[in-house]
Amino acid sequence: MMALDESGRTAANHADPADPSRRRLLVGLLTAYTASLIPWALAQEVPDEQRGAFMALSAILVGRPSLDATQATRTYDALVANDARFPADAQALLALINERHIDPLQLQATLDNEHSPLAPLPRQIMRAWVLGVVGSGDSARCIAYESALNAVMVADVLKPPTYAYGSYGSWSGKPV
């Protein structure tokens, strides 16, 4: 069990969340172009540049207005555990997007066409966030299910399989 400090926060979350030096860090990782893709990131806190690059990339790829910080930590840690080069690759990919103003919809095709060594990265990050799966084959791990973003994105209409939709027959009505 994680130790709680006197204020009830976990040790891992000990730093003051309003610390402006942490807040500035993510802003500093973005250019005007990437900041325009994720304007909310200006208020996002990150503990270091590597996690900052991951958060920025994540935000660009999944296109959501906010990302859960706890799940981000869990996802990042799993991606690093899966591939020790992940932090450096993530920084390199963010730098590339910053530099060349690559549209998220063109990103995969661009990397594939250029045979970039970074080409697998967007899919790894997407799989982690939207499927809750990190790694592949025998080393694949599930890190999220109900909170995987593909469940969250349809949560107003569907429950994740194995969760009850509702009382008997509640599925007969028009969905939305």
Binding site: R64, L105, C142, A164
Partner: protein, 547 residues
């Protein structure tokens, strides 16, 4: 506690079929011992295993095989248990565990249509069954009352008595499909072992949409329900008992079965009557394994037909986007079908088929498609919702004719216990392929009526398998061309019976479990007639009616 070493009835296989035969015999006062190769499973652990699995699209993932009783696994890679001899792959899936393969099934509990058992006489193809639909009818009824089957009367299978339950409430998606396909096609509610109300102590469905791999709430009848009811009737179950040989005496009667415990210690169990109910692959494997100097080709195999006539239901399919929001994934997975193509004069030329609509949530498939396509940014969520709301799939469920070349044999490869693995020889013939070709016109018409766009037919020449393992121990009146008689008794061994989908001489177009259960109940009655016919089973239904 040591497992009993003898019983009146020894059943090999604790799946839905073996357990319900065992239950009926135990209710008549027989001592019954069920030997199951696999372990006991717990529902809650299966649910957790699915939620924690990185392979949500692979419903076998929550059912890892035990080392002593392996079953086929293909994802993330083939574990090599079911050896493929070709020419066409037969990647059958099943579960070796207490409760068997119906731990995960769609609970489609169809009857045959009457002409299914007479296709040789009527259409000049396949074989006739050694019994009529009318003879099966009361056994279907008994099976339906035990399982708790919900269904509608307009599916083409006549009946003398009402279904135990009204059809399960129709999901919105299927309502729209039914409305928009009428009057060109009649879309009907599937006949399912799923509760549309509280029944026999189990609750009504609450729409978890995970019938496969696991119903979390016990609203769907599973093999484990059958096992528990057999135990309640007095049957004993021995899990992790890997039967590897059936022993006969000098007169050709079965004297005992031999099993390994996981530590490979050897055990022998004697009995008066033996029922082999280990499924359409493991049952013939065991008969072939039990060859002796008297029966060099294996037990019950004077005809040479053990393992032959392997059948299943291959499917081709069409996936497309409807022009309105359907949102598959609300309610149970398999609610509706088109049944009008299951029979007709065309059966002399091509395979009949049922057309099956899925109501499985499309979110996972759509997510994988979008990631594969590299759709990122705000467009991802927009596309996910658009596609998950509109994507729909229809597949055919095609009949395969019995062909002795399609068979289960013993492989030269062995499993971890040193037991030869099963080996599948399989091909899909022109009769079935012609049926698939004809059904394409139905797929196209259905898409047109649903305003379909983005039509994606399954790859040409590719058939998905439905895990309805049929044949391999076919019943018939002629001992030269069949393995068991019309009551499931092996032609060669007076006290050895076979229960399971393997005894079905043809596969027809419906999921095979209910027919196998009905035949097994009939076999049980033949072995030991009920003191008061059907009393035990109708009781459950009437109790629930009062509830």
């Amino acid at each position: 506690m040591a497992a009993p070493a003898s019983a009146d009835i020894v059943v090999i296989g604790a799946g839905i079929v073996g357990a319900l035969a065992a239950r009926r015999l135990a209710q008549q006062g027989a001592s019954v011992l069920i030997l199951e190769a696999g372990p006991r499973l717990e529902r809650a652990r299966i649910v957790a295993a699915f939620r924690n699995s990185p392979l949500k699209g692979n419903w076998m993932a929550p059912y890892p095989p035990s080392p002593w009783a392996p079953h086929p696994i293909y994802v993330p890679k083939d574990n090599g248990y079911l050896v493929q001899a070709g020419p066409y792959p037969y990647p059958a899936e099943y579960i070796r565990a207490v409760g068997g393969t119906t731990w995960h099934w769609a609970a489609q509990a169809w009857r045959l249509v009457p002409n299914d058992v007479r296709i040789r006489s009527l259409y000049g193809v396949g074989v006739d069954w050694p019994l009529s639909y009318e003879e099966l009818d009361p056994w279907y009824q008994e099976a339906e009352e035990i399982l708790g089957v919900a269904g509608a009367d307009n599916t083409g299978s006549p009946r003398q008595h009402p279904f135990p339950m009204a059809p399960v409430a129709e999901p919105w998606s299927m309502r729209r499909v039914r409305e928009r396909l009428a009057p060109t096609y009649a879309v009907v509610a599937n006949t399912v072992a799923r509760n549309s109300r509280g029944y026999d102590g189990r609750p009504a469905c609450v729409g978890n949409n995970s019938c496969q791999p696991i119903c979390p709430v016990n609203a769907q009848y599973l093999g484990i329900n059958a096992v528990e009811s057999a135990e309640a009737a007095g049957a004993k179950v021995v899990p992790n008992a890997v039967v590897y040989r059936i022993e006969h005496d000098a007169k050709g009667r079965i004297a005992a079965v031999h099993y390994y415990a996981p530590d490979k210690s050897e055990h022998r169990v004697t009995g008066k009557t033996f029922i082999l109910a280990a499924n359409g692959i493991e049952s013939p494997k065991l008969l072939l394994l039990s060859a002796s100097s008297t029966y060099p080709n294996g037990l019950a195999n004077r005809s040479g037909m053990v393992g032959r006539h392997l059948m299943d239901h291959p499917s081709t399919s069409l996936t497309f986007y409807a022009d309105e929001e359907l949102w598959l994934g609300r309610g149970p997975q398999s609610p509706s079908s088109i049944n009008t193509l299951r029979d007709g004069a065309f059966r002399s030329r091509h395979a009949p088929y049922r057309l099956d609509f899925t109501n499985i949530s499309q979110v996972l498939n759509v997510t994988n498609d979008l990631i594969r396509e590299g759709v990122y940014g705000a467009e991802f969520e927009k596309q996910l919702r658009w596609r998950a709301a509109r994507q729909i799939n229809v597949k055919n469920v095609l009949e395969v004719l019995p062909n002795p070349d399609n068979r289960i044999a013993l492989s030269s490869e062995k499993d971890a216990m040193g037991i030869p693995k099963p080996e599948a020889h399989y091909a899909i013939d022109d009769y079935t392929r012609r049926g698939a070709e004809v059904s394409k016109a139905d797929f196209a018409k259905i898409a047109e009526l649903m305003g379909g766009t983005g039509l994606r037919y399954s790859a040409e020449g590719h058939f998905a398998n439905n895990q309805h393992i049929t044949g391999t121990l076919s019943m018939g009146n002629d001992p030269a061309s069949s393995v068991v008689d019309g009551f499931g008794r092996t032609h060669d061994h007076e006290n050895l019976f076979v229960c399971g989908t393997g005894v079905m001489p043809t596969a027809a177009t419906m999921n095979s479990t209910l027919t196998a259960v009905a035949l097994a109940l009939r076999t049980a009655e033949h072995i030991l007639p009920a003191k008061q016919a059907h009393a035990a089973t109708t009781h459950a239904g009437h109790e629930a009616d009062r509830a």
